[in-house]
C-alpha cells in the first residue's frame, strides 16, 4: 500500500509539474496575472507530493518491505535503522528521487522567499524549474521507478553496499545534490531573464543568494565525499580524479566563476551575457554529471548499475534543456551586450581573469573526463586518463587564480591605480616569499613543490589580512560595519589558503609504511611508534570484524593512544571492508589500516603519517561557511523585512555603497 501511495504521489507531482511548466510562462508572455499566480501554489503543492513519494520510499526501507525490488536489492533486515533510512538514496532509483525531491524543495523555497520579485519573474523562474522537474519525474516514473514490486517477495534483502554503510555516506549524497540541483535556480533565473529579455542589476542580485547557497552545499558535499574516501577506502587518498568526482567538480568550478561574475553583474552591470552563460553552464554541467554517472558511458570506481535506456533518456532531456537554453541564449543575449566600461587594471578585469581561468580549468577537467570516451567513439582504443594529466593541467591553471584572488579584493572597481595596488601588495608579497623559503626548511626538507604551495597559501593569508586592515583604516570600529558578505568573502578566501596548506603538506611530507607485523612488533614512522598488540574477532549488527589493537606513542615517550583498525566482512554480500583507525590532530593524522591476515598472529598493516591532512577538508568547510555567511548578509534580510512593512522604498536602501561591498 505505502509503495503504491508513493508511486501515485509522484504521478500527481508529474501532472502538477506539467501545469507549472506551461501555465505561468504562458501567463508571463500574455501578461495574465491569474496564470502567473498559479506558479507559487503549484510549486509548493508539487513539493508536498514529491515529499510524500520520498517519505513513502523511506517508509518502505524502514519497514523492511522486501516486496519492493529497490528495498530487496539495497537493504536487509539486519541493517541498522540509520542506514536503512540512508539506503533510500543508496540506489540509482532512490538517488534520482532524491534529485527530484531537492529540485522541488528549491522551487518551493523560491516560491516562499520571492515576495519582492516581480510576479512575471517568479512565474518564469518557477515555470522553468517545473519543466526540469517534469523531465526528471518522467525519468523516475518511466525508467527508474523506485516502487516496483517484486513478486513473490524476497525473504530478505541483499543489503546496502557496505561501502555506503557509513555516517559520511549518509550525508554526502543529500548535500551534493542540494548543490548540484541548487544551480537549477540560477539556471532558471538566467532562462527567465532571457525569456523576458531583461537584464538588470536586480536580476543579478536575486540570483546571487541562490547561487551562493547552492555553491556552499556543493562545496560541503564534495568535501564530505572526499573525506569519506579518505577514511573508508583504506588507502589514504582524498581525491582520485575519478569521472564521478569530476562530474561534481566541474559544476563547482563553473559555480565558483558564476559567483564572482554575478558580483560584477550586480555591482557594475558588466559581464551580463557572460554571467547568463555561466549560469546555464553550471547547471548544464550538473546535468552532464548526472548523465555521465547514470548512463554508464564512463567506467568509474563508482560502479552504479547502468542501463542504456536511462542514458538515452537523460541525453534527450539534456539536449532539450541545454540545447534549448543555449539557443535562447544565442537568440536573445545579443541585446544584453558586454556593458560597463573598465580599465585594464581594475577589479572587473581581475575578476574577468579569474573567470577565464576557472572556465579553462573546467574545460581541462572536462577534456580529461571525456577524452577516453572520445577516443573510444572514434575507434582509437580504450584508455583511461589519470591523476598525472589532471595535476599537470590543473595546478598551472589554478595557481594564477590564487594569485589573482589576493589582488582582486584590493583593487578598485573601474580603474585601479597600479602604484596604489603595488604599495598595498608589497608586504604580502615579501612575507609570502619569506614563508615559502623558511617554512619548508623548518619542516625539515626543502622542495620546490612545497615552497610553491606555501607561497600561494601565504599569499592568500597575507593579502586577506591587508584586505581587512584596509577596511579598518578609519578605526577598528569600522570593521564592525563591514557587511557579512565581506566577511564571507574573506573567510572563503582564507579557506582556499587553508586547503592549499593541507594539499601541499600532505603531498610533500606524508610517509607511508606497508609492513608485516606479528603480535608485539613495533613499526616506527616519522617519529611515531606503532605497536601491534594482536587482533580479536568482533560481531557487528550485519558483519563480523577482525579488530586490530595498535598502540601508538611518540618516539621520545609520552601518552599512549590505542587505535582499532578493523577488517570487516559484511555477511550478506560477503564483501570485505577496511575500517581505518585514524588519530586526528591539528598538525596531521596518524592513519592505520589493517590489511590481510597472513596467519593467526601475523597481519599486514598499513601505517600513514599525514601532516596537515585535515586542513584539506577544513579549508572546504571554511569556504562553505564563507558562502553561508554571505547569505546571511543584511541586504537580503532587509529586503524581506522592508517588503513586509513598506513595499516600495526598499530597493534603494538595499544596495549598500559600492566601496563597502565585497565581491
Amino acid at each position: 500500500m505505502i509503495p503504491e501511495l508513493g508511486h501515485f504521489a509522484l504521478i500527481v507531482a508529474l501532472f502538477i509539474g506539467l501545469a507549472l511548466a506551461v501555465l505561468p510562462i504562458a501567463g508571463a508572455a500574455r501578461d495574465d496575472a491569474a496564470w502567473m499566480g498559479f506558479a507559487r501554489p503549484a510549486a509548493q503543492a508539487q513539493f508536498v507530493f514529491v515529499a510524500i513519494g520520498f517519505f513513502c520510499l523511506m517508509a518502505s526501507f524502514v519497514n523492511n518491505d522486501f516486496s519492493v525490488i529497490n528495498v530487496a536489492s539495497n537493504s536487509n533486515s539486519r541493517l541498522p535503522l540509520e542506514y536503512r533510512i540512508a539506503a533510500s538514496w543508496g540506489s540509482h532509483e532512490g538517488s534520482m528521487l532524491l534529485w527530484v525531491f531537492m529540485l522541488c524543495g528549491w522551487a518551493c523555497a523560491v516560491s516562499l522567499l520571492s515576495k519582492r520579485l516581480p510576479l512575471a519573474m517568479v512565474a518564469r523562474v518557477l515555470g522553468v524549474m517545473g519543466f526540469i522537474s517534469v523531465g526528471f519525474l518522467l525519468f523516475v516514473l518511466l525508467t527508474s521507478n523506485p516502487f516496483d514490486r517484486l513478486l513473490p517477495p524476497a525473504m530478505d534483502g541483499r543489503d546496502l553496499n557496505p561501502l555506503l554503510q557509513d555516517p559520511g555516506m549518509v550525508f554526502h549524497p543529500p548535500l551534493l545534490y542540494m548543490g548540484y540541483v541548487g544551480f537549477a535556480v540560477a539556471f532558471s533565473f538566467a532562462v527567465a531573464a532571457l525569456l523576458a529579455g531583461r537584464f538588470d542589476a536586480a536580476w543579478a542580485r536575486w540570483s546571487r543568494p541562490w547561487t551562493t547557497a547552492a555553491w556552499a552545499f556543493l562545496t560541503l558535499g564534495i568535501a564530505l565525499g572526499s573525506w569519506w574516501a579518505y577514511y573508508e577506502l583504506g588507502w589514504g587518498g582524498w581525491w582520485f580524479w575519478d569521472p564521478v568526482e569530476n562530474a561534481s567538480f566541474m559544476p563547482w568550478l563553473a559555480g565558483t566563476a558564476l559567483i564572482h561574475s554575478l558580483a560584477v553583474a550586480e555591482k557594475r552591470g558588466a559581464f551580463k551575457a557572460w554571467t547568463v552563460l555561466l549560469a546555464i553552464a553550471a547547471f548544464s554541467l550538473s546535468l552532464l554529471g548526472t548523465f555521465l554517472v547514470r548512463s554508464g558511458v564512463l567506467t568509474s570506481v563508482h560502479a552504479f548499475a547502468t542501463d542504456p535506456t536511462r542514458g538515452s533518456f537523460i541525453l534527450i532531456f539534456l539536449a532539450i534543456v541545454i540545447g534549448g537554453s543555449l539557443t535562447l541564449f544565442g537568440w536573445r543575449a545579443g541585446s544584453v551586450g558586454f556593458a560597463g566600461r573598465f580599465d585594464r587594471i581594475s577589479r572587473e578585469s581581475l575578476l574577468l581573469g579569474n573567470n577565464v581561468l576557472l572556465v579553462a580549468a573546467t574545460g581541462a577537467v572536462m577534456l580529461g573526463t571525456l577524452y577516453p570516451l572520445a577516443l573510444d567513439a572514434l575507434g582509437l582504443g580504450k584508455i583511461s586518463v589519470g591523476a598525472p594529466y589532471f595535476e599537470a593541467v590543473f595546478v598551472p591553471l589554478m595557481a594564477p587564480v590564487v594569485l589573482l584572488m589576493g589582488v582582486g579584493p584590493l583593487a578598485r572597481w573601474k580603474q585601479a591605480p597600479v602604484g596604489e595596488l603595488a604599495a598595498r601588495l608589497k608586504w604580502p608579497a615579501l612575507a609570502s616569499v619569506v614563508a615559502a623559503v623558511v617554512l619548508p626548511l623548518a619542516a625539515g626538507r626543502f622542495s620546490a613543490m612545497v615552497a610553491f604551495g606555501l607561497l600561494l597559501a601565504a599569499w592568500v593569508f597575507t593579502t586577506s589580512v591587508v584586505v581587512v586592515l584596509q577596511r579598518a583604516r578609519g578605526g577598528s570600529d569600522q570593521l564592525l560595519k563591514q557587511s557579512r558578505s565581506f566577511w564571507g568573502m574573506v573567510l572563503a578566501h582564507v579557506g582556499v589558503g587553508v586547503f592549499i596548506v593541507g594539499v601541499t603538506m600532505v603531498r610533500g611530507y606524508e610517509t607511508e609504511r606497508d609492513v608485516k607485523v606479528s603480535t608485539g612488533d613495533t613499526v616506527v614512522v616519522s617519529g611515531w611508534r606503532f605497536t601491534f598488540k594482536g587482533a580479536q574477532e568482533v560481531q557487528g549488527p550485519n558483519y563480523v570484524a577482525a579488530r586490530g589493537i595498535v598502540e601508538m606513542q611518540r618516539e621520545g615517550g609520552g601518552e599512549v593512544t590505542v587505535l582499532h583498525p578493523e577488517k570487516r566482512v559484511y555477511k550478506v554480500q560477503g564483501m570485505p571492508m577496511t575500517e581505518a583507525a585514524i588519530d586526528s590532530g591539528w598538525l596531521g593524522d596518524r592513519y592505520v589500516s589493517l590489511g590481510e591476515m597472513l596467519d593467526d598472529k601475523t597481519w599486514t598493516l598499513r601505517v600513514y603519517v599525514k601532516p596537515f591532512v585535515d586542513w584539506i577538508w577544513g579549508g572546504c568547510f571554511l569556504m562553505a561557511l564563507g558562502g553561508l555567511l554571505a547569505l546571511a548578509d543584511r541586504r537580503y534580510r532587509v529586503d524581506v523585512k522592508a517588503m513586509k512593512t513598506e513595499p516600495t522604498p526598499a530597493t534603494a536602501s538595499a544596495v549598500p555603497p559600492v566601496e563597502q561591498v565585497a565581491t
Partner: protein, 175 residues
C-alpha cells in the same frame, strides 16, 4: 543576432553527438582476457544432493553456457525466465554456477522460479568466481566444444542480447 553567441550551442551539439555515440559503446565490455582461452578447470559439488561433482571437462564435445547466479541477486531474477525458456526450447545446455549463496535459498528460488540448469555447481566462497573473473552477478559465459570460452556477458541477459548476440553465436558454434 550575432553568430558568436551561438558558439556555445555549437560546442554543446558537438558534445551531445559525442555522448550519443558514447551511449552505443560499452565501456564495460572490456575485452575479457578469458575470451579465446580454455574455461578454467574446477571441480565443485552440485547443489542437488546425490549428484557427482561438476567439472567443466565433462562438457567436452558440446557447446554450453555457464551462468553465474545467486538467489540474492535481483538482476538474476530478471534474466531467469529467459533462461528457463531457452532450456525448455532446448536451445543450449545451461550450467549454473551458484555464487556466494546459501544453498537453501538457492533451492527455494529454483522451486519458485523454475530450474533451467542441467547442473549447478556450488561456489560457496566465490573462489571459482575469481578464476572466471566474475565481478558482478549475473554473468554468462559461452563455451565451445573444445572447452574454449567464446563469449562473456556481464549483467542480466535481455531478450535482445540473447537473440542477437548469444544465440547466433551458439548456433554458429554448433555448426
Amino acid at each position: 543576432m550575432k553568430a558568436r553567441l551561438f558558439v556555445p550551442l555549437a560546442l554543446f551539439l558537438l558534445l551531445a553527438v559525442l555522448l550519443a555515440v558514447g551511449l552505443t559503446l560499452k565501456p564495460r565490455e572490456v575485452p575479457s582476457p578469458f575470451i579465446g582461452k580454455p574455461a578454467p578447470a574446477f571441480s565443485l559439488a552440485q547443489l542437488k544432493t546425490g549428484q557427482p561433482a561438476f567439472d567443466p571437462a565433462q562438457m567436452r564435445g558440446q557447446v554450453w553456457v555457464l551462468n553465474v547466479w545467486a538467489s540474492w541477486c535481483a538482476p538474476c531474477r530478471e534474466e531467469h525466465p529467459l533462461l528457463v525458456e531457452a532450456a525448455r526450447q532446448k536451445q543450449v545446455t545451461i550450467v549454473g554456477l551458484n555464487y556466494k549463496d546459501d544453498p537453501r535459498n538457492a533451492e527455494e528460488w529454483l522451486r519458485k522460479l523454475g530450474d533451467p540448469y542441467q547442473a549447478i555447481a556450488v561456489d560457496r566462497d566465490g573462489k571459482v568466481g575469481i578464476d572466471y573473473g566474475v565481478y558482478g552477478v549475473p554473468e554468462t559465459f559461452v563455451v565451445d566444444r573444445e572447452g574454449i570460452i567464446r563469449k562473456k556477458h556481464i549483467g542480466p541477459l535481455t531478450p535482445e542480447v540473447w537473440n542477437q548476440d548469444v544465440l547466433p553465436l551458439i548456433q554458429k558454434l554448433k555448426g
